[in-house]
Symmetry: C2
Subunit: 582 residues, 2 copies
């Protein structure tokens, strides 16, 4: 029993090699224990057990400072830095987040959940050290998958300018979330095959010193190589070859499936999560697969998260050249899509709301300045999306909807979503983004419009009076509930509107509402600041009409309970009635 | 006289080598003619005359397609594609923009003004060609300075996945706007010094084929090398060594000064532009230089545009290790600044409003999620800023001000700006961005506040009644004029407020205004969508108070006249009075 006794990194430094191996075994058991019950990032953490032990054995954290890229591989780091209980005892699971977190420990320096940031952030720590005259080691840890991201490449290129102590550990397990994509992976392969000796070397070409270790799951050898680079006075890359999912048989076999997991049977790997009914990922994949079969110029693009929209390995193969995973390279994905549209193709790029944040300038300059007709699918864009502070899906409306020329659509159900997607692919006039609903799949049997080319025409679903409800996207169903409740309470049916277009105002309709309405309610599933409702408030500003905007406060929520957040933001039928009918 | 006869690229294909050299001479004369009278990008265009001639000689534009990165080097391309008059005759100067522009010519495929995008955009054209079964050549042209940008590196990494015809011409003149920064430039140097033969090769390490040409200003040799790669069936880099400013003696000497120019004496190079009085660049540089002398942990960061805030070569040297130019790598710059702040340093990163667009995710994730106290200076953030469609400074408020934890400040004059900057550098609580005024330097002799830590307290400059004017940043002076005019016209002094904080509401003050005001005017120097005024409109939405938001429409303006744009947006005293007093 070693892990039980580890309260700080120094506690492992008295262990001999066999004991460290024993510790590694216990850490894998602890990972399996937590992950099988709680879910989380499995493959990256299993592969990095030995590296984390060796890092903490050689370096003196928190004086020496580690920055873990995307921090998918930080669980073992947490175990060795006073947070082991979160992996050993179910009642302590919630003590830690799934990412490094300075609020948890002095051994964590950044709250990190997006990829490709560790080198730049660590460069900052190194520069601060140099300005202050310190001498500690600064170590950035980055996986091979993250290397294709622009921010990582900018950081690696910059690192050599530091001309002082700086260590980049490249954890090369020959995998991204799915397989890697990009030319640099050919070089990593050459480096692995030549034992790091081939002359053509990406890292050296970026001005960095370099060492290679083939045995990235061998604690003794890792300790040797880290000792060798400790206190280096020049930036250096330590390229280590590890095995993703190492020590977890099913994860070793099926690396993509086990990058991240829901709770599962620890013996068999059988998932314990139960999915019933339809999901928008599969709906999207089936629609696009069909579309691509019929039209060879339609192309689906993802940035390292293909199953996000249902494209499993099998479905990717089926799509062939009409499916492109650009790797972790969202900026490239958007510009690439713009170029395809300019060349007469019909590109659809899909990613998470949280990751589209990486592409503001590409959406603006590469796509919208040029008015190219690419389609951007934004998913998990909702309070119902991912709930880690680094993966929130509630900021995309201010990000996307304030870019000129962009048409950002908010479907309210499955049929409307597919009609919008179909229209967007076939039209040649506008850059279009579509906010995939995230409140479960609502199916309506009614006919939906198929031409969205007459921009900014809102749809009146129920003509009433006094109060008008503009219920956007997946808060449309909430709008229906509010309408019903107002009718019940006041006896007067309010007008219920599906705005459909986030990016523009239906001024004709808004003007007409003035005739027999005195209050307007807007509902949107995102922050209010810079959002849809504020545009309506601005429109009615000079009129004296009352406008009530409902949405989320501008804040970084973390591991939140959806119902609580909705209550806090008065996003419930009783609270809305209380405000509007008073 | 060759140029006069060139109406399309085919017209140069009958010329022999001597005649092509004659054409090059005439093109340089035309460049000098236009640039000395009109201003524009000088160094990049002078250095690329021969390359552009050779490209159009070998390839068949617009069937074969060129994509010019940042398109600073596209003037000669325009001369050879039917637009020569814009360089030969003053009355035709305005026929063309300073960038490639599909509205001008079928030889241009994208409107491009931000760097590092050409490879990704051209990858898109290549993919569209492959989907459609075409066989034309796709050629991306990119300068060495642009290579450090994340989007370019993502694109280069992806390019090898195309596995079909794709040519990247790397125009290496060993300069960015200022000198290059980053480790990859050491590799470019090795490649130049070894005639392209050294084994360690950035481009090969990214999976690409590669050829090198030392004589990048020799038309004959350029034609040879382009002929060699024409119709390649695999992605290939053609690395050419050119001389920035070639053929313009003063530009050859002072490369940084002549990257871009205002009108000048064509004989002597003497600038014809007259600057009088203070400018915010120099004010910023002087303040930061002083600050850095006093405190070795203060550090100024720029991304390739150092003179933007007054840091000439001399001033950069003076600042030493406390000045860092990261090269064209804005994403890295923000994450780096966040890391420095986390490590106890005091970073100030300055760039243009248009270029900060590249950093939304870094501002959000690397900086604001972590709440690190870095300072971001945003300049040319104004309708008075740069007026090309690719360089507009009117979108930064929706971009920055809707990120949680960010404090975005809008100073209204020089003293307030410096007080805010000083406060921001010294505090440890908040990520802060400051919107440098852009309507000329207004100096007030009055004392300004020095502690902005009590967030979101607006400043009442004039207590009046009925109407309140919230005049943000450099539209404060317009607010003063409106206040005066209202007083004159109605006899009642309105309340005049300097909001100072773009990111939050002074709810106490806004609530109090309800007591004796019935109308609120907001003024902001940027687009209204997602901006400051809409937050005020939302606040007063349920109150029945009238709110009038003034700012710019959400649109991509291009080469506009400021007065016209202000008039079109009713941003003049008479129009505002007409709206509010009716």
């Amino acid at each position: 029993m070693y892990l039980e006794k580890v309260n700080q990194p120094a506690d492992i430094r008295g262990l001999n090699n066999d004991e460290l191996k024993g510790l590694a075994g216990e850490m894998r058991k602890a990972l399996l224990f937590r992950l099988s019950r709680h879910g989380g990032h499995l493959g990256p953490n299993f592969g990095m057990v030995e590296t984390i032990i060796a890092l903490h054995y050689v370096f003196d954290s928190p004086n020496d400072k580690f920055v873990f890229d995307v921090s998918h591989q930080s669980y073992c780091h947490k175990m060795l830095t006073g947070r082991k209980n979160a992996y050993l005892y179910e009642e302590h699971f919630e003590d830690v987040s799934g990412y490094t977190n300075p609020e948890e420990s002095e051994h964590d320096f950044f709250n990190v959940g997006h990829t490709s940031t560790s080198v730049s952030l660590a460069c900052g720590l190194a520069k601060a050290r140099d300005l202050k005259g310190g001498s500690e080691n600064i170590i950035a840890v980055i996986g091979d998958g993250s290397l294709s991201g622009g921010e990582a490449l900018e950081g690696i290129d910059f690192a050599s300018e530091l001309e002082s102590n700086f260590i980049i550990v490249v954890n090369d397990n020959d995998m991204s979330i799915a397989e890697n994509h990009g030319g640099l992976y050919k070089n990593l392969k050459q480096l692995r095959e030549s034992g790091g000796t081939c002359e053509c070397n990406l890292f050296r070409a970026m001005g960095l010193d370099y060492v290679y270790l083939a045995e990235g799951n061998d604690i003794e050898k890792l300790i040797q190589v880290f000792r060798k680079v400790k206190d280096t006075t020049r930036p250096i890359v330590v390229h280590i070859h590890t095995q993703k999912g190492k020590g977890c048989s099913f994860a070793e076999q099926k690396k993509e499936d086990w990058h991240w997991c829901m709770p599962f049977d620890a013996e068999t790997g059988e998932s314990l999560a139960v999915f019933e009914g339809e999901d928008y990922g599969t709906i999207t994949q089936e629609f696009l697969t069909e579309k691509m079969k019929k039209d060879p110029t339609v192309i689906t693009i993802v940035a390292a998260v293909p199953t996000n929209i249902g494209f499993t390995e099998e479905k990717r193969k089926e799509a062939g050249k009409q499916f492109v995973d650009v790797g972790i390279a969202e900026e490239h994905a958007v510009a690439f899509a713009s170029g395809i549209a300019a060349g007469g193709g019909k590109p659809v790029f899909a990613t998470h709301s949280s990751f589209i944040q990486r592409t503001y300038d590409q959406l603006s300059q590469d796509l919208c300045v040029n008015g190219n007709a690419a389609t951007i699918l934004v998913n998990t864009a909702s309070v119902y999306g991912m709930n880690d502070v680094t993966h929130l899906g509630i900021f995309d409306i201010p990000l996307i909807a304030n870019i000129p020329n962009m048409v950002y659509l908010a479907p309210t159900n499955k049929e409307e979503y597919l009609a919008m997607l179909d229209w967007s692919i076939e039209q040649n006039e506008h850059p279009v983004a579509i906010r995939i609903p995230c409140n479960g799949v609502v199916s309506v049997k009614e006919k939906v419009e198929t031409d969205y080319g007459h921009l900014n025409r809102y749809q009146v679903k129920e003509q009433g009076r006094n109060i008008a409800i503009l219920a956007l996207g997946d808060f449309y169903q909430l709008g229906e509930d509010v309408a019903k409740a107002i009718k019940e309470k006041s006896g007067i049916m309010p007008t219920l509107i599906n705005p459909r277009y986030i990016t523009g105002l239906d001024e004709e309709l808004l003007e007409k509402l003035k005739e027999d309405h005195d209050s307007i309610i807007t509902l949107e599933d995102g922050i209010l600041d810079g959002g849809f409702g504020e545009k309506i408030a601005r429109y009615y500003g000079p009129s004296g009409l009352k406008v009530y905007n409902y949405g989320l406060k501008k804040e970084f929520l973390d591991r939140y309970n959806v119902e609580e957040v909705l209550r806090d933001n008065r996003l419930t039928v009783p609270r809305i009635l209380e405000d509007v009918l008073k």
